[in-house]
């Protein structure tokens, strides 16, 4: 069997990331604990979520060190998901609206 190099990175990096994930999770939790509401809440939730997800993917899943050929292959399809999300946000608002306008009670 030929030499297998794989992904090797200093243990310190992992520990740092680990620490950061803890901190960020704590922050997300605080968003709820401190009962932020409305736009602030959403911005905070989404920011922490993206940061956490980014750290996990970049470091734990080694994407930071992978060649771009792989990274692009993984990220480009996400565009389809984003379109789907966008359309469905719009669609559910429309459904809710028509329910509110026309229905007397319940649905």
């Amino acid at each position: 069997m030929a030499q297998l190099e794989g992904q090797q990175h200093p243990i310190g990096t992992y520990l740092w990331i680990w620490g950061w994930l803890f901190v960020l999770s704590a922050f997300s939790y605080l968003v709820d604990y401190l009962q932020f509401q409305g736009a602030v809440r959403w911005t905070l939730i989404l920011t922490f979520m993206m940061l956490k997800a980014g750290l996990i993917m970049a470091f734990f899943m080694h994407l930071k060190w992978e060649r771009m050929a792989l990274v692009y292959a993984l990220l480009i399809p996400m565009f389809a998901v984003m379109v789907f999300v966008g359309i469905m946000v719009w669609e559910s608002d429309y459904t809710l609206l028509s329910r509110l306008v026309f229905y007397a009670t319940g649905t």
Partner: protein, 278 residues
Amino acid sequence: MFVAIILILVAVGSVLFHLWSPWWSTPIASNWGYIDDTIDLTFWITGVVYILILFFMAYCVWKFQYREDRRADYEPENNKLEWGLTILTTLGVAGMLAPGLIVWNDFITVPKEATAFEVVGQQWAWNYRLPGKDGKLGTAATQNITDENPLGINPNDPSGQDDVLIQSEDLHLEVGKPVKVLMRSIDVLHDFYVPQFRAKMDMVPGTITYFWMTPTRTGTFDVLCAELCGVAHHAMRSKVVVDNASDYQTWLAEQETFAQSIAEARNKTKTIKTLASK
């Protein structure tokens, strides 16, 4: 040779079929003539391309059929040609799409003067509700449905009391008056479809859908259900009668309102009860 001839025959035959066949769109009876125009336009653009492609193929098959002593050309690509064709196609697409989108904009923009009426679908029958004297439909919900209130009209909504109910009978509309068709279903998906009106839309339980149109021709038309809704989907029929103004008013005056139908139903149960108690 033979293959080329058949290809030509397919092309020519298709055109002849189009010209001679007795089957084509059912004569229109609403304001959506634009839709028919868009269909015609699409027909022309795509039809020409189709015929051209078939003829080109036939020509190739005839001209370049295998001969031992001939060699094929070697031409991997020709950017100019490919881009030219792309641009032409893009123009063709734009030529169909632009008018289509303009008409669609009309289709989803209901004019202010349109009066609303409601179609309620259920397995497998059609009911209609017209606004009463106040010109407004009362709110309604599937939760409100009872034996005496089969359309689930909100009994506490004053604007609903005078709504005119038409259950399992023909719907009448007035010619030349734009209407907004509000659609509601109490069980599964249905689709209110009158071929002559061109417009159609699904009826979705839990939501209200709509389209608008103006009937342009008096007469009696079939209402079909165009969304599979169970075993009797094909048998879910009704009729819509487009009247002139005076006929329409006479008809309207004869119809029962929500308040009346409730009262009637209560009376009926009362008599049944009293009869039973005797």
